[in-house]
């Protein structure tokens, strides 16, 4: 923005006359804040290219006819066989021009590469062969809603192979690489309906991997993502049937990352033909997957004992994930209704009871914080920390209720004595927990089966208000331990929530 080549200034002068004419035929109208830079680059290139192409082809045609061989012209006229000065000139001039092009191109690219700090964060998941967008309010949709004149940052990843995030009208493109978080951003300046196309070849459905993109005023955008967040209604605003709601929840709440619906093997049992079937249990015996079983399985996954599947893998917080007390029952029923639609064993006993919300019987209260001198002021941070533990991925390995798992359970961890590999015993105080999370390589716990990944990128840094996020998490770990004490708790001065770490 601030930096403009003198040559570009000249071009900007003529832009009013010919820029549209040059660019409009080729590139889409500029509809985002980065597009003008790109169009400047294009125009510059276009003028140069036209000039040189006309020069080369013109000279060629002229020579072709002027020096054409004929009866009168059998021999070439004598002329120099080389002229170093001339040749250096036509080496040097293109060199200067392309160097200018390089600088202009790089300048535009820097803006594209660096998202502004105040951007709205939209998560993009690419998989064969559709796009899923998750908005800051938790809404998930297959349509990309973009607010007008506000920067939006996309954090993208792929579930399977390479994909390409490509909105031609908004001049934004970035490959989506599995195993990496790819980032790009856009600030749309023109309302309208556009297309997001997959640009990187991804298999059979590549050419159908197109999502609508709707750029609209901010208020309209907010309304749209609010509507998208409502799982009970469809895109047309009408209430959805229960199985449809269940399917939405399946994609929304992470079920899909472990349970397939096509019979393929996943981390958890497939949902295909599950409802109503006979489930084999560990240690012999079977159970019928009726409504009660399925509901119990969702609410108390650690009681599960399905043969061939590891206990303690499924998060045990689905009651909260589904909205907590009073709200989760209907959602669980919707999920079970969805399971029934994809099962050939579906029967009355495996269907959710008809009528109003199912009785909220036999719901164990979500793990109550054990006693342990927890300051009341930490309560707000607790909720944040708990949420973090789920979203950052801690609970994929660490159980919070004492269930043995691949990694040490967090129950009664904080403040307890931990045995190290070299035989020493240490107290799991605040410093220990902090080091363990941020520099896991430094501590070797006896009997550990794996190296813990370094979590610092997800927990500390200016975007998380320094240590705030980390401390919230450690507050939560403390809340699970009866050994928790002052030494294992974060400093009191940190009692100030980050507001969900968003």
């Amino acid at each position: 923005m601030g930096f403009t080549m003198p040559l570009m200034n000249m071009l900007n002068g003529v832009k009013f006359d010919c820029s549209r004419m040059l660019a409009f035929y080729w590139l889409p109208r500029d509809s985002s804040t980065t597009a003008p830079d790109i169009h400047d680059m294009w125009n510059f290139f276009y003028v140069v290219a036209i000039f040189f192409t006309v020069l080369v082809v013109g000279l060629m045609l002229f020579f072709m006819f002027r020096y054409r061989m004929s009866a009168k012209r059998q021999k070439a006229d004598p002329s120099a066989t080389h002229n170093t000065a001339l040749e250096l000139t036509w080496t040097g001039i293109p060199l200067i021009i392309v160097m200018v092009m390089f600088v202009v191109g790089f300048k535009g690219y820097m803006n594209i590469d660096t998202p502004p700090g105040n951007a709205i964060d939209v998560k993009v998941l690419a998989q064969q062969w559709f796009w899923t967008f998750t908005y800051p309010n938790g809404a998930v949709s297959q349509t990309l809603y973009l607010p007008l004149d506000r920067p939006v940052r996309f954090d993208m990843t792929s579930n399977d192979v390479l994909h390409g995030f490509w909105i031609p009208a908004l001049s934004v493109q970035r490959d989506v690489v599995p195993g990496r978080i790819m980032t790009t951003w856009v600030e749309a300046t023109r309302p309208g309906k556009f297309h997001l196309q997959c640009a990187e070849y991804c298999g059979d459905g590549h050419s159908r991997m197109i999502s609508p993109v709707i750029v609209e005023p901010y208020s309209k955008y907010l309304a749209d993502i609010k509507a998208a967040a409502n799982i009970w209604v469809g895109a047309d605003g009408k209430p959805l049937p229960m199985p449809k709601v269940g399917e939405k929840l399946y994609n929304l709440k992470g079920c899909s990352s472990c349970h397939t619906v096509n019979g393929a093997r996943g981390t958890g049992p497939t949902w295909k033909n599950l409802a109503g079937s006979q489930v084999k249990l560990n240690g012999g015996g079977t159970a019928t997957a009726d409504y009660a079983y399925l509901k119990h399985a969702i609410m108390n996954p650690d009681h599960l004992n399905v043969r061939g599947f590891t206990k303690g893998v499924m998060p045990d917080n689905y009651i909260e994930q589904l909205g907590g007390k009073g709200k989760y029952e209907r959602k669980i029923n919707a999920i079970i209704a969805y399971m029934n639609t994809i099962s050939k064993y579906s029967s009355k006993s495996s269907m959710p009871p008809t009528g109003a919300a199912a009785p909220a019987a036999s719901v164990p209260a979500a793990a109550a914080p054990p006693p342990g001198g927890l300051p009341k002021a930490a309560a707000a941070d607790l909720a944040v920390g708990k949420k973090l533990a789920m979203t950052v991925g801690c609970t994929a390995c660490h159980s919070v209720n004492g269930t043995p798992s691949v990694c040490p359970t967090w129950q009664n961890l904080a403040g307890s004595k931990v045995k190290l590999k070299d035989g020493k015993m240490v107290v799991a105080d605040y410093d220990y927990l902090r080091t363990m999370i941020l520099q896991p390589g430094k501590i070797n716990v006896a009997g550990a089966m794996m190296q813990m990944p370094n979590m610092s990128a997800a927990l500390v840094g200016p975007q998380y208000h320094g240590d705030q996020r980390l401390n919230d998490l450690i507050w939560y770990i403390n809340s699970l331990s009866k050994f928790s004490d002052k030494a294992s708790q974060p400093p009191r001065s940190s009692l100030q929530s980050t507001g969900g770490g968003q």
Binding site: N159, D160, P178, S257, T260, A264, R265, G266, T267, G308, F309, T310, V313, A396, C397, V406, C407, K421, N444, A448, M449, M450, Q451, P453
Partner: protein, 271 residues
Amino acid sequence: MVNLRIAGQCLAPMCCAAYACHVLAPGQDTSQVMSMTDEQAHTPAPPPDDKVLGLLGNKKAPAMHIPGAGNLGIALLIVALGMLFAASLVSYLVVRYHMHLGPGAEIHLPPGLWVSTAILLISSGTIHWALAAVRRDQEKMLRLALAVTFALGIAFLIMQTANWLDLAAAMHRSLAAIHAQADVLLPGGAIIPADRSLVQHHDLLVLFYVFTILHGLHVLGGLIPLAVVTLRAFSGRYSRNYHPGVRYSVMYWHFLDIVWLLIFAVLELTF
């Protein structure tokens, strides 16, 4: 079993390399080499039939000795193979760099690798000795040195085979460990981090096999022309003035030695 398939995949091109050495090296061994001068190099070609009949029609065709061509050819072959090994080492290092190997399930390189390294180093010495011998017209010494080199080459391959077998057990263990955790290896891809280190150790093992077998095949590819050269030495074909086959073998063998030292050093330092 699986390794065999890999070996099969590698074998074809490696045989090509071996054959190329053959084509390049003894290709210059025409019958009239003894006193080939520049003048003769430009004499008219032999009767056309020789050349047209080609490979089977005329074993000696074409009767053309180009001074220095063989050396340059071998040098270029070495450049190409050098790129091959360089790229494979770079890929290994990049893959290794991305790994976070945890404690437990550790795999150690077989100590036999030190023995093979020693064997290869010595053989590099003996083949150089052969070159020195032929330059001094010491025919007996030449034969002995070549034969010893050949034997050492075979010994190297035997030792490498022992090393591969040595690690086979570890390979089985890592495979079994992965299979035991099969339910976390999803078709869609996600793996529970707990198994990452097992998987990665397995990756390392496979890469170890890939690179050592790749090198072993090149040794095998070098042994074939070396055998030809040795046999020719025994039939008294080489002299102080004419010994291209020996020279090419020496160049190639030193190259194999250097490549092995690099591979070995990298493996020792990072495995």
